[in-house]
Symmetry: C2
DNA sequence: CTGAAAGCGCTTACAG
DNA sequence: CTGAAAGCGCTTACAG
């Protein structure tokens, strides 16, 4: 490697002090416009870039955010939930729009992620995006809080949980799904997905679903809820489990699109017609949901908005500005898998 | 924020010099094992983490790799090609396995990415993962080369292109697809995807496809090739275009799964039966390919292997070890969309 | 508007 | 095996 130019080299060429170079390059109003232009000109010529390590060390912030994706240890190594990937994309873009770099890391629950990034000054704050068992990482969240690490969390609705949360309105999303199914004449709605505090997002969707049934005067059949994590395999297994029970159902609300895709496959394998015999609805509106056959009715979470809200909330936190948790609207997208 | 402990705090508590602390924490053999343990103990107690900015500045490397995803400017902002996301996942993991952090950035071709990361010392090297028009960024690659930036590139087969490339054997992949289709009795194979030096990966797949036809004594109908970029929309349009031509075909080889998903939708919309009337084959084996209906025959690129090879090649480059471009095997995965 | 100087928190010759 | 000292390349009071 050629040795890189430093601010001293520029100062020398420009005939000014190194401090002035530093100021000029950061557009400080303290420096004479002409001098500034001259300095910038030389910097460009020398292909000079500010050394981030040095500037970060001195200024004690990195202008970098860390995104920690943590996942259910049981899920397949090579697959990433498309919904989270979509979030990753929007977060990457939002970081850029806000002038931050993004460090991305996948973490397993067992690991010592809580602290790694901010304590080492590699990042000014952390965005947590996860699935899996909430109870498992509650403790780590508390630790982050205690270390006064700046972080924002996606997805769990406002619980006794520490920190700022940006979430989708899962309850209303679930409510709208069930309301739609009932309008389509479905009376026995099954639910595939965890329904406990361990997975509060799914639980909220289920609660909304139950509420809509009650509001319509339909008795909720709790036996029609089977657990699943958000993979096709788990959805496939869940649907088989439902069909094996001696209880009829005419609709399945799946807690995620991935689960729905697996469930549809299981229904087909058993010769069950979708939507004639059983309507299927997912959640997330992942790209593939439009292309399943029949196309999957689902609930859209606005990942673009979510990404920018996460980043903006974290940036506000970093700048000691007031921030509050936010709930984003969910939008039902009706397709063929649930319409008669 | 509480002010973080420094190596001096630890030195003070341990009754040694700061240099010794630094050595102990990096497991230098120069330090007495007992002293080392004591120091580590104290570091843990104080929740001490090495300041990366300081250590990077001093040691002149960051132990960080930058991943630059650059994309076709025409493609939808919110969508990311699932194949690249899969690569992102495997690269993230490979970085971790090699002790590197990963900076991720999405770049548009117009931007000034060529230099940003390594010149600022934020990363020791760059992994480039892109789609879109190769001729457009050839110039930037040359610039990287000239600046002696360490980088590796995914996906373009060994051209006159500068730098180390890790790629899939697209020619053989395409060859195997056509061979399979011919074995299934198909005689008129259409191709949806660009076929020019502007997208060498697709082009190689097409070349392999043509070669297999020639080897089987089938005349290649060049008019059955229509351009497409790797989106469902583009695949949909491409299939419509094919059907509008007054030329019959009984198979479509799509240059990517995304294209294939769109093409299948177009065929269905026109009442064409898959695979009875037209067989469809994709490329990439994205997660959804298994769940389309019929399930999509495709070619698997081993993203896990690819990710680790990219990272390992780049790390070797950084350490001035010999590295060479590599071609990974492609594996045909036969499903219902192409079998009689 | 500009410069000389201190210092961010480490790593690494150098000396012992 | 250990310590005192220099220095990585910046930013930022401080003084003018």
């Amino acid at each position: 490697m050629k040795s890189k130019a430093t601010s001293f080299d520029i100062a020398h060429q420009a005939g000014v002090s190194q401090s002035t170079v530093s100021r000029a390059l950061r557009d400080s109003p303290l420096v004479n416009p002409e001098t500034r232009e001259r300095i910038k000109q030389i910097a460009k010529q020398l292909n000079y870039k500010v050394d981030k390590n040095a500037s970060n060390l001195r200024s004690q912030h990195s202008d970098t955010l860390a995104l920690l994706l943590f996942e259910d240890p049981t899920s397949d190594e090579s697959q990433i939930n498309p919904f989270f990937l979509s979030m990753l994309g929007s977060i990457t873009r939002a970081c850029k729009d806000n002038g931050y770099d993004l460090l991305v890391s996948f973490q397993r629950l067992e690991e010592d992620w809580h602290a790694e990034y901010e304590d080492t000054h590699k990042a000014d704050g952390i965005i947590l995006l996860g699935y899996g068992d909430y109870t498992d990482y509650k403790g780590k969240l508390d630790q982050l809080q205690e270390n006064e690490t700046r972080f924002v969390l996606w997805g769990a609705s406002s619980d006794a949980q520490p920190g700022i949360t940006i979430a989708c309105d899962n309850f209303t999303g679930g409510y709208d799904v069930a309301k739609h199914l009932i309008q389509q004449g479905r009376k026995n709605i099954a639910f595939i997905g965890g329904a406990s505090d361990r997975c509060p997002e799914f639980f909220d969707r289920y609660k909304g679903c139950c509420q809509a049934q009650q509001d319509a005067g339909i008795e909720v059949k709790q036996s029609l809820q089977v657990d699943a994590i958000t993979t096709e395999q788990s959805g496939y297994a869940g649907a088989l489990q439902l069909m094996a029970m001696q209880q009829s159902f005419d609709a399945i609300f799946c807690a995620s699109d991935l689960i729905a895709v697996g469930a549809m496959k299981a229904l087909r394998d058993k010769g069950v017609k979708i939507p004639e015999q059983v309507a299927v609805v997912g959640y997330d509106n992942i790209p593939l949901s439009e292309f399943t056959r029949p196309a999957l009715t689902t609930v859209q979470q606005d990942t673009k908005l979510a990404g920018s809200m996460l980043v903006e909330a974290l940036v506000a936190l970093i700048n000691n500005k007031p921030v509050s948790s936010q709930l984003l609207p969910a939008k039902l997208i009706v397709r063929q898998s649930s319409t008669n």
